[in-house]
Each structure stands twice: as C-alpha cells, then as structure tokens.
Symmetry: C2
Subunit: 224 residues, 2 copies
C-alpha cells in the first residue's frame, strides 16, 4: 500500500517534468517559427497546447485522487498541493509559447522581429528554455543551490527585456508601431515564461527547506 502510494507521488513529479520539458521545447520551436517566419512550425506549436492541457488535467486528477484516497500529511501534503500550483504554472507557460507562435502566424510571411532585435529575442528565448530545463532538473534533484543559481539567468532576462524597451524608445527606431507592439508583447511573453520557471524552482525550495509553510511541521504526523 505504501509502495503504491509513493509510486503515485513519484508519477505526479514525473508528470511535472514531462510538462516542463514539453513547454520548454514549445517555446524553442515557437521562437524558431518566429525568427524564421515558419508558418507550419508555428501551427504545430499552437497544436501541441492541447497535449499539455491533457497532461495538466491528468496530473490534477491524480493529485486530487491522492489527496482523497491517501490523505497525506506534512511533507507529502505540501508536495501534492504544490504540484497543483506547478502544473498551473506550466500550463500558463504553454499558453505563452502559443502566444509567441501566434505572433509568427499573424505576421507570416513577413518576419515579426526586425534584424536589430533578433539576437535579443533569441537570447531571451534561450535563457527562458534554459530556465525551464533547470527547473525540471530541480524538480528531480531538489537541489536548492541549483534553484538559487537560476536567479542569475532570470536577472539577465530582465536586463534584455529592459533593453528591448530602450531600443523601442530610441529615436532611431524606424520599424513603425506595429512592430513595436509585437516586440513589446513578445518581450513580455518571454519574461513571464522565465518568471514561471523561476517560480517552479522556488516552490521546490519551499518544499525542501519548509520556508513559508513552517506551520505544517507543527501539526501532528497523523490527525485521524
């Protein structure tokens, strides 16, 4: 009975890692679609969102079933509740990857990103994917130091995001308002994606260190 229970908890963790890998990959492909003005690739990213929604629903169902059947307490309870929050973060990341793909589709066959911002967008996308890959690792390893190191990449994303605004507001900007609108939204999509990845890692830190949920440790191990 206990073994089946822990297998259920493990499978929830594996579901989160699958979702993280899929959303990271979706953002990478969405960015390729964006920079290459590749309509088919954009459509395929938009099409995979349903799969991530299915994974989320499946994960939520399993988490709620574990709560109902096994009535976990203490650390296990925190783990299951946190996994519900994480799956919501990941579903949101998939929506953000979709948004990037939709900008590519909207402007096709023209590229939405002007030459002078391609390297910034590419770097934001790479950092966002790296953060998601690191978040997936942290989900597996529970490595608090690795989680904390992610803040540096997140700072770099914020710096690139500010750089986009400076570039847009530069007097030499000559790509017009439509491109400014696209780039403004794109910058926000990558920044939010990265925020969610960092938030995933922070939740693992809370689980491991017990910060912000100390009161649970004060509860009796069983309350039946």
């Amino acid at each position: 009975m206990r073994d089946a229970y822990h297998a259920e908890l493990d499978s929830i963790g594996e579901g989160l890692v699958d979702m993280a890998n899929l959303t990271g990959s979706a953002m990478g492909r969405a960015t390729s679609a964006l920079l290459d003005a590749d309509l088919a690739l954009a459509e395929s990213v938009i099409g995979t969102h349903g799969r991530i929604e299915d994974l989320q629903r499946d994960l939520e169902d399993r988490a709620i079933a574990v709560l109902a059947r096994q009535q976990p307490v203490a650390t296990d309870l925190r783990l299951v509740v946190t996994s519900l929050r994480m799956s919501a973060d990941l579903e949101r990341c998939s929506v953000l990857a979709q948004h990037v793909a939709k900008v590519a589709r909207l402007r096709h066959p023209r590229p939405a990103v002007p030459q002078d911002l391609r390297s910034t967008i590419l770097e934001m996308s790479q950092l966002a994917q790296r953060l998601m890959a690191q978040a997936a690792d942290v989900l597996v390893t529970h490595d608090v130091d690795a989680a904390l190191r992610m803040e540096q990449d997140d700072d770099r994303i914020d710096e690139l995001h500010r750089g986009i605004f400076q570039h847009l507001l530069d007097d030499r900007w000559h790509h017009g308002v439509e491109t400014a609108v696209d780039v403004t939204l794109l910058g926000r999509y990558y920044e939010r994606f990265a925020d969610h990845a960092v938030s995933l890692a922070r939740r693992v830190v809370y689980l491991v260190t017990g910060e912000q949920a100390d009161f649970i440790a004060t509860l009796p191990a069983t309350t039946t």
Copy 2:
C-alpha cells in the same frame, strides 16, 4: 468538531471574497491614478499589494491546515483545492493592478494614455472591476447562470482590446512609440485581469456542477 470544520471552510471562502474585493478596488484606483496622472494614488495601489499577498498566504495556510487536520473528501476536498487556485488567480490580479499603477508612476506628471484612448481604457477598467465584483458574488451565491453571464462582459473586453490594436496600427496614430508600448501593455493587463475574474467564476461552476472532476464523485465517501 464538524461545526468548527465548516466554519474553517467558510472562512476560506470569505478570504477569497475579501481578496476579490481588494483586487477589484486596486484596479479601479490604479486606473484613476493612470487617467488622472495621480502619483500618490499610484503609490498607494503599489503599497497595498503586500496586504493582498498576506491575505493569500493566510488563506493558503488555512487551506493546507484544513487538508491536514480534517482530510476532507469529495466536494469539500475539491473546494479546498480550488480555493488554492483561486487565491493564486487573485494574487496575480493584484500584480496586474500594480502594473497599471506603475505605468502611471513611470509617466507622471504626464498622463500615459492619450485622450483618444481614455474612454476605451476606462471602459476596460470598469468591465474588469465589474467582472471581479461578479466573481465575488458567484463565490458567495454559487449562481451558475450569473457565472455564465460574465462571458458577455469578457467578450466586450476582448473587443475593446482588439480596438486598441486597430487604433495603434491606424495611419493616423501620432502619439509615438512610447505611448504605443504603454497602451499595448495596459490593454494586456486589463484583459488578463478580466480573464482571471472569469476563471474564478468558471472554477465555481466546476465545483457546483462537478464537471472536469467527475471522478471524485466515484470515490468512496471515506477512504480510511
């Protein structure tokens, strides 16, 4: 024992309504700060976010404590788990109100919104506040019809949001790129705020009708 338990569940619901009222009010005041270029009001909105974060933490602590101590099943379990998702939605809405206030602060003493978009921004803000007030009502009444009626206001928000883009991309746009960037982000903040309000009401519908969580009804009433 059962009475104390249901009092705990009720107090979680009341906490959500308090958060909804506070975030709706924050968005209203943020919009006033934006349209009136009122720096003090903008600062006050930014300052109240901490209170909403405290409410969220308090609500999460209580929800997790109820899960640990009372080990609810079936409808009660769904209620508690859903309340955790709702409090996350509401905390996000408070961040969005803050973002609006920060645009007001950034452009002060100039108004960030040009005259020809003031009425659109005002209507988006009013609809967003109304949706949040309706979501708070639905949290109390569990009125599925009222929840479904909210979709109309949400459609109107989406229409106004599209109208902003059309206006920005009109050849007669003469407010420059900086204002275009501000208005692009503002439109997105109101639209996301409204999405979260609608999502709150949808979660109540799922709780009441049991859709998307049918399997819980198939579980035995107690599993110990």
